[in-house]
C-alpha cells in the first residue's frame, strides 16, 4: 500500500487538487490510519497558525508619520511661496528699472532731443516716440510707480524673513 505524500496531504488541505485525485485521497484516508493521522497533525498546525495574533506596533507611529508628512507639506508650501516671492521680487525690480529708465528718457527728451535727432538714426527716435505715446502716462507717474514698487519690495522681504523664521523654528523630527 502506497502512503500519501505530505505534499499531497497539504494540497488536499488547501484544496489544490483535482476532483479525481481528491476522490483517491479520500478513499486512501478511509483505509489508512497513518495517513489520516498525518492529515490531522497538519490540520492542527494550520489551525494553530490561523490563531496567531498580530504583534502590536508602537502607538507613537501615527504621530511620527503624520508629523513628518505635515513637515514635508509645509516645506513644499514654503517652496511654493518662495517661488511666488521670487516672481514678485524680480517683477518689482524690472518695473522699478523701467520706471527709472523712462523718467531719465523724459529728461533726455526735454534737454537733448534735438542733438539725438541729429546724431543718431531716425529709427531710434521713432521708436522713442512710439514708446512715449504708449507710456506717456507712465512717464508722468514714474515717481509714484517707483514708490509703489519699493513698497512691494519691502513687503516681499518681510514675507521672506517670516518664512525663514518659520523654517528655523520647526523642529527636526
Amino acid at each position: 500500500m502506497n502512503h500519501l505524500s505530505e505534499e499531497i496531504i497539504l494540497d488536499f488541505i488547501d484544496e489544490n487538487i483535482s476532483r479525481e485525485i481528491k476522490k483517491d485521497v479520500l478513499t486512501h484516508l478511509s483505509e489508512c490510519d497513518m495517513c489520516r493521522n498525518k492529515l490531522i497533525e497538519f490540520q492542527k498546525v494550520d489551525k494553530l497558525f490561523y490563531q496567531i495574533e498580530h504583534l502590536n506596533a508602537p502607538e507613537k507611529i501615527n504621530k511620527i508619520v503624520m508629523a513628518k508628512i505635515s513637515k514635508q507639506l509645509k516645506s513644499e508650501k514654503q517652496q511654493k511661496n518662495f517661488f511666488i516671492f521670487s516672481i514678485i521680487f524680480i517683477s518689482s525690480i524690472l518695473i522699478t528699472t523701467i520706471a527709472l529708465i523712462f523718467s531719465s528718457v523724459d529728461k533726455v527728451k526735454i534737454e537733448k532731443f534735438s542733438e539725438i535727432e541729429i546724431i543718431s538714426n531716425k529709427f531710434i527716435v521713432g521708436l522713442n516716440k512710439i514708446l512715449s505715446l504708449f507710456l506717456d502716462k507712465i512717464y508722468q507717474n514714474s515717481l509714484t510707480l517707483t514708490f509703489i514698487t519699493i513698497l512691494i519690495l519691502i513687503i516681499s522681504i518681510l514675507f521672506l524673513i517670516d518664512e525663514l523664521k518659520n523654517h528655523k523654528i520647526k523642529p527636526n523630527l
Binding site: E6, E7, L10, E41, F42, K44, V45, D46, L48, F49, Y50, Q51, I52, E53, H54, L55, N56, A57, P58, I61, N62, I64, V65, M66, K68, I69, S70, L73
Partner: protein, 189 residues
Amino acid sequence: MVMINLTDNEIIDSINKGNYNDFNLLINRYKHKAFSLLMRMLKNQMDAEEVLQDAFLKTYYGLKNFRGESQFSTWFYKIVYNSAISKLNYRKNKFHNSFVSIEENLKIPFESNIEIEQNNLNNIVNKLIEQLPPQYATVINLHYMDGFSCDEISLIMNLSVSNVKIILYRARKILKEIIMKNNLQEELR
C-alpha cells in the same frame, strides 16, 4: 467614526483630494499587520519601527501614483517588504540571497528543544515562528495572519507561485516536526 467604515480606495481618494489627515486611518488599519511582518523579517524592534515609518512615508508619497489596478493591501505590503529587504541589504545580511536560492536544500537552523516559559498559545506559536528562517516566517505571516493567497504572496515577494508553495509546504512541515518533537500538541489542543 463614519470614516472607519470606508474602503481603502475611498480613503485614498479622500487623501488625494487634499485631506492628508485621513492617512491616519490607513496607518491605524495596517500598522499592526505591517509591524508583525517586519518583526518576522528583521527580528529587531528598532529596525522594524524605523522601516515601518519609512514604509508609511513611501506609501503616502506613492498614493498619487496608485492606480488601483491591484488591491491597496498587496501594493502596501510590497512597499513594506521591499523596505525591509533594503534594510537587510544595508545590514549586509544574506537574507535576500536565501530567497533566490530557495530551491537549494534547506538546513533547519533552529533548535528543536523549545523552552516554553509561558503557557500561552500565542506566545508558543510566536516562539515557534521566530525559530523559522526569515523567508519562511514571512510567508507564514502573509498567508495565515494576513490572509494572502499564494498568488498574492508571489506578487509581494517577487517570487514564483511555485516557490511560494514550496516555502509554505516546508514551513508547515518544519513546524509540525517541532510540535511533534516537543510534544506540544497536547498544550496546543
